[in-house]
């Protein structure tokens, strides 16, 4: 494996982790503020992709129109959902809220199927950002992925400044842990909730706009991302933006590395055997014969398969050893 390969794979992982962050940022703020795990959060990500595809490709406007418009539109939809959905359901308790968001996720998925169909839409990278930005060795790194990185980092910095440098940001931070007390001080917490919900959904939509050209735009997109962002907010610590960023990057980079790795039990056995100078007849056989062996599944097991489990494993470990998450503040 050469350095070019490692560098670009790392960058791929960063790009992936950063778009995970865009989605999980809203989820973690909403969760810790309202105490509701919003199952529909990833649905806004998916809607972002579809709306952008419609605007950029079906209507023939450009990706650059979709980029600002889609988050605004979906952010507004998010606020309506909070104001007229979640807030009404709130009186009936958390279970009702969970069921509501669950139903909403389902509804969005069926809506998407009905309106856009089940097929994978040919949502593509905009013309301007097609092609490689640079080449290391024989590996290229696409301009679009670099663009994803730049957009996500700008959003993180913007959010960070908003939360730590502005009065609204402080109110939000305070409301993350003590919404009632903030209300009692005369701040309109329901309005803040609605705004945060709106911004959170807008960010998820933005992630959909910039990530789905490299992924598959289809009605299953939300269901595939949902579990990952849930893992991220738990690992990062509920309500912690930096935690979400940190966990997103860890999971983005490591899952990409796992995907790129080609180690398997048999390849490790081979390396060890070579090292010891042992000639081993098993290794001469074609892989399909190896697979048929009694222990075939075991010796063919690869880091890829382990990699798919990795985020969940990490979550379980965190829940056991650091339940408040890597950068979480409160134990809950």
């Amino acid at each position: 494996m050469d350095w070019g390969f490692i560098t670009v794979t790392l960058l791929d992982g960063v790009a992936r982790g950063l778009y995970f962050f865009l989605v999980s940022a809203g989820l973690t703020l909403i969760f810790s503020m309202m105490g509701v795990l919003n199952f529909a959060h990833a649905s806004f990500f998916m809607l972002g992709g579809y709306f952008a595809y419609i605007i950029a490709q079906e209507w023939g406007l450009s990706f650059w129109v979709a980029l600002p418009v889609v988050p605004l539109v979906i952010g507004a939809i998010g606020m309506v959902v909070e104001r007229f959905g979640l807030r009404q359901v709130h009186k009936f308790g958390h279970v009702a809220e969970l069921i509501f968001t669950f139903g909403l996720a389902f509804l969005v998925q069926e809506f998407v199927k009905l309106v856009f169909g089940n097929d994978t839409k040919p949502y593509a990278v905009p013309e301007l950002l097609k092609g490689p930005l640079f080449t290391i060795g024989d590996q290229t790194f696409g301009s679009f992925r670099a663009f994803m990185i730049v957009v996500s980092i700008s959003i993180f910095i913007g959010l960070y400044l908003l939360l730590t440098r502005t009065r609204v940001g402080m109110i939000i931070q305070a409301a993350l842990t003590h919404p009632n007390t903030v209300s009692n001080l005369g701040h309109n917490v329901p309005l803040i909730f609605m705004a945060v919900f709106g911004v959170g959904t807008a960010l998820a939509a933005l992630a959909g706009v910039i990530a789905l050209p490299t992924d598959a735009l289809q009605p299953g997109a939300a269901a595939r991302l949902g579990p990952i962002i849930f893992v991220i907010i738990v690992v990062g610590g509920l309500g912690s933006l930096s935690g979400a960023l940190f966990a997103s990057l860890i999971i983005g980079v490591l899952t990409t590395m796992f995907d790129a790795s080609q180690l398997s039990v048999i390849s490790i056995m081979e390396a060890v055997a070579n090292l010891l100078g042992i000639e081993w007849s098993l290794l001469e056989r074609p892989t399909y014969e190896l697979r048929r062996l009694m222990v075939g599944d075991l010796i063919m097991m690869s880091t890829k398969q382990v990699g798919a489990l990795f985020p969940y494993l990490l979550m379980v470990l965190i829940l056991i050893f650091r339940p408040q998450g890597l950068l979480g503040k409160r134990e809950s």
Partner: protein, 423 residues
Amino acid sequence: MKKILMAAAAAVFAVSGAAGAETTVKLAFIDALSGPFALTGERGLQNFTFAADYFVNNQGGIDVGGENVKFEILSYDGAEGFPSPKKSVLQAEKALRDGATFILQGNSSGVAAAMTDFVGKNNRRNADNPIVFLNYSAVVPALTNELCNFWHFRFDAHADIKMEALTDVIAANENVNSVYLIGQDYSFGQAVAAGAERMLAAKRPDIEIVGNELHPIGQVQDFTPYARNVKASGADALITGNWGGDMVGLGKAILEADLGIPVYTYYAAADGITGLFGEAGNGVISLVSEGWGANPTEEFQAYHTAFKAQYPDSDINAPRIINAMGMLAQAMQAAGSTDPKSVAYALENMEYDSMLGTKVFMRAEDHQAFQNVYINTHTNEGLPTNSAGAALDYDKSGYGLLATSTVEMASMGIETTCEMKRP
């Protein structure tokens, strides 16, 4: 007196039954109708519905031993997220209760293996009420080899037959000295990889397999790392059996990485994939399949036009479905009965003249259909047209598959380990 009356009534019924005899044969379509692979299932259902109407219902029914027979297609969702063997079998049981006598299924060889097993068991226990499984897409060779079953018929060329055709082309290409294999980690993906390894070793021992990767089905978010590995390996060609979302993802990553090598596939067309690849796939993507060839028959051209009139957003993504319905109708007429067992016997060794411009031979030994197989290129140039003059493209994209070489009655003599037990 009473008895006489009853007998008379019975006679009247019998006569009226024979005269206007209307029988509806229920065909149970069981495939993924939800989840990430739902589109493939939905399109399959449309294609079956259209073909059943074309061969049977739109003719006012077909005459089977003096009875007027119509086809009714019942549809069942066999997916729990992904195509699920367990759920599909449960649905098959439901279909039996609903009076279905034929099962139409194809997506995922894992499901097909469970289905053929279920059908075999059911027909042993319920010998009076058998059901026949018409497999239109599941191509793991085992289904017509060690897992073969009298009640199962496969209309698609199986993975080894397709691989023979592909490896013939690859072997003849002197620029190819190394090959990379990527597949989904289940029976079918493993079969593709095994076939490629075996056949390349036989046809071109000098070709090196520089990568052989299986990934979990339907779970890879982004195939970029895979594409990077292909690039890093320096392979001269890529072979993949991926289908559905896994083909879309892999294709995107490959085209983005600009590998500059031919990509040989089983399923990289239609259902959004052709549209997505567009110009980037031009001349890069090849696909092995049955199909209508470079010079489609007039009948097929008209069929295509009519299909598009009914389903403008859909495509004929599995032309073998036409053969499955055509052969079923013909077998019933030949058997003079809609009884599944008689129809199954009539299908054995049937030679069918398909509107696809090929003969289809259903080998009795293993119930595998043999037909012309094509190596196609993804392109927007020189595509044949339908009777309305529209190009035979996919996804309304202007791009489609152009047959560049034909293997007549591919692998006709291929061996099978099947020891068919007939009831």
